[in-house]
């Protein structure tokens, strides 16, 4: 099922209410060709389950790792992804865009 932003934010609330650790990632800035618009959400629980997207799948892995860290330490953070040479094929965006993502724990 394709999840809408509505589903994602409702899931974030439901997951947190079931006592799971939950973090929300939000695309706050994009440059150039970026697959998901500003405001797109990805919600992650402590088990690494996730819903939504912040890119076309390119950086979700890294965002989930940051989200798990945020769930552990409670510290909100802003992370940036681009096509820096050495990361282009690991956690960069092969489309050539850059994005900034805000990751926060739901308390």
């Amino acid at each position: 099922m394709l999840s809408t932003e509505t589903d994602i934010l409702n899931a974030a609330e439901a997951w947190r209410r079931s006592e799971r650790g939950v973090a929300l990632a939000t695309v706050v800035e994009t440059w150039g060709s970026a697959p998901r618009p500003v405001g797109s959400h990805l919600v992650v629980d402590e088990g690494g389950n996730f819903l939504g997207s912040v890119s076309g799948g390119c950086v979700e892995g890294a965002v989930i790792t940051e989200a798990l860290d945020a769930i552990a330490d409670g510290r909100p953070r802003v992370i940036e992804f681009g096509v820096a040479d050495e990361t282009a094929w690991r956690v960069g965006l092969s489309c050539g865009g850059r994005i900034r993502v805000f990751v926060e724990r739901i308390d």
């Binding site: 409702n10 609330e13 947190r16 739901i106």
Partner: protein, 238 residues
């Protein structure tokens, strides 16, 4: 984010009310601002402009960087009358992301063949709006296009009472004068009746049904994005 804030956003969205989440990216502090609370907010002007644009994004204010998550209900267009203009208008409205439904109790007009892939409700407006079509609200545009007061008037009354951001009615000035008379007798206030766009559509000299559809859609976009004096959301596009 506090669970309370997330809950507030979800409640507002479910109720089809606009809301924003203001996040200070430097320290992570946040607040939810409901539409009605915007005028009293320290960032009132910025929030009003952002709300009109309907887009989330970064803003600089007070020497700090804020991210505004803008949550605006999906805008709906309800057409009264499964007429020729509506046939042209439906695909155009879909192209600008309006969610369209068509109401017409005349089953000769309201046929799926004439309106493929459009929610079509072959009922009187009062019946349609009491069930199959979700209730009207401020994020709805209503265009009455049947030329038949029995069908158009109840829909116009419902649209004005629900404070739809756009209410338009097809018909000449003479037709509209008679309509104003009827709506006054039905108990609507002059300022409510004055909100009806009639004759409907921007004056672009439209002749064909498709051209009239363009003029109606342009008028709706103008009302939505704050170009017209009757814009509901305040401010122009960001």
């Amino acid at each position: 984010m506090k669970l309370d804030s997330l809950h507030a956003l979800n409640v507002e969205r479910a109720a089809r009310r606009a809301a924003m989440l203001v996040t200070d990216l430097d320290d992570g502090t946040q607040r939810v601002v409901r539409e009605a609370e915007i005028p009293a907010d320290p960032l009132a002007d910025i929030l009003a402009r952002r709300l009109a644009s309907g887009k989330s994004g970064l803003v600089e204010a007070e020497g700090r960087q804020f991210f505004l998550t803008v949550q605006v209900p999906a805008v709906r267009l309800v057409l009264i009358g499964a007429v020729h203009i509506s046939q042209a208008l439906c695909p155009m409205a879909a192209a600008v992301d309006l969610s369209v439904s068509v109401i017409d109790p005349r089953t000769a007009f309201a046929t799926p063949e004439r309106f493929p892939e459009v929610p079509l409700v072959p009922l009187w407006p009062d019946e349609a709006l009491a069930g199959p079509v979700p209730p009207l609200d401020r994020y709805c545009a209503v265009a009455a296009l049947t030329h038949d007061p029995k069908i158009d008037d109840p829909a116009l009354i419902a649209a004005l009472k629900a404070e739809c951001f756009y209410v338009g009615a097809l018909g000449s000035r003479k037709t509209h004068a008679a309509r104003v008379e009827r709506l006054s007798q039905a108990g609507l206030l002059p300022e409510q009746i004055a909100r009806i766009e009639a004759p409907i559509g921007l004056d672009i000299g439209a002749v064909s049904p498709a051209e009239i559809a363009v003029s109606i859609l342009a008028q709706i976009v103008s009302a939505l994005r704050g170009g017209g004096p009757r814009a509901v959301k305040g401010g122009g596009p960001a």
